[in-house]
Symmetry: C2
Subunit: 258 residues, 2 copies
Amino acid sequence: MLFLCFMQAISKNQIKYIRSLSQIKFRKAHQAYIVEGLKNAAEWLQQGADLEYIVALPAWFEQNAELLKAYEPRKCLIATEEDFEKISGFKTPNQVLLVAKMPQQKDMIAATGNNTWTLMLDKVQDPGNLGTIIRTADWFGIKTIICSPDCVEQFNPKVIQSTMGSLLRVHCVYTDLAAFLQARPGTPSYAAILGGSSLNAAQKCAPGFIIMGNESKGISEEVKALVQHHLTIDRIGPDAESLNVAVATGIFCHTLIQ
Amino acid sequence: MLFLCFMQAISKNQIKYIRSLSQIKFRKAHQAYIVEGLKNAAEWLQQGADLEYIVALPAWFEQNAELLKAYEPRKCLIATEEDFEKISGFKTPNQVLLVAKMPQQKDMIAATGNNTWTLMLDKVQDPGNLGTIIRTADWFGIKTIICSPDCVEQFNPKVIQSTMGSLLRVHCVYTDLAAFLQARPGTPSYAAILGGSSLNAAQKCAPGFIIMGNESKGISEEVKALVQHHLTIDRIGPDAESLNVAVATGIFCHTLIQ
């Protein structure tokens, strides 16, 4: 209760600012993104994520004082249910919303490819798929995902909903995949391509790049031409057309990374 | 063009009927469900699915006469864009919508467990997850999914959007999982349970049941007690909390079914 007296009520300008972050252009301009929902907020706070604001109902602040220890009270903004209706992207009313700072990405690319597994995504467009892939990468110890510039943005609210906190440990770097591969000819590359050799024959390989393609078109011809191993998940059902890209990513990671 | 003269315009009652099918109680009462979108509609028509109505804009009927060969013109209903706004569950205007009849399910349970792989789902609640699991089952040649009665319904529009036509080849049967397992003590059962033995040690097993649990709570204690093999996908990232259930299903199927 004492803690609450050091906190301010959210202002009109802050509401306006937070609303603007639902759009990618403002997220990029301010290098900030929104985290919503009880479970996600707890995860971001527990990990000590770099935050601009913690917006919540008074009751949430009272019940979660422990989570707030590492944060200055001036970052905490008290909101009403009406305020939440204005700032929330959720259909049902919310109790807490964070404004988080985007991490600095300059040194991430350098860390890839040195006897570690790295995931590469060529035009993955569905935010739910990217979120699920980030969560899968976290499970398999992958720290960096190299995304083509036309992949969905990692700080899209729907991506954040599907990552379950893994976005704090796995980072996406957006860059041209062909140029990236051309600069690293010595690193093995394994791509999911229909009609390739059986993925099962590729067990216990040297670490390198696992490359997955767009939901309907797969991997672009330009990237395909630079990949060493074209691999396919054995199909048993004769009429099945394809697998979901996040499911295929999980199968590739489980088979290759051990 | 000639074909169009045998078709009727959609009536107010038909619009009302189709709108009602967005609710599970009316889908169950009428044993019918909706299929939307160009790609899904083409898939249902190509497979000769049992349909009540094919509702489309005149231009779609003109361009897709080939797909309609197997269907009586009286099942085809011409709709305007305004009609589609009333009947469609999509945000963006649509060109075609099917009303399909639910398949008869009485003999499906009998076909499971005789040296074939069958998937079982315990309270999977997200429609996107169920749709992706149905698509994954199709890829691995699984024809039947035994769902607990509290799983999401297979004819939910969001399930249909994620199945990509696999729902025509893979059927979900809703029944009590514990009673189902108790009646089949001789069939091997493999369940995804955190803290079980490594999934990798379970390769080349005899066919049986692959059991996956609820998105946050996993498999219920009652079902867990009846399962022979408790298996876990090896985790490499130390802080990752869990995998998406559809991704985990794909990894289980790929590892166990060969």
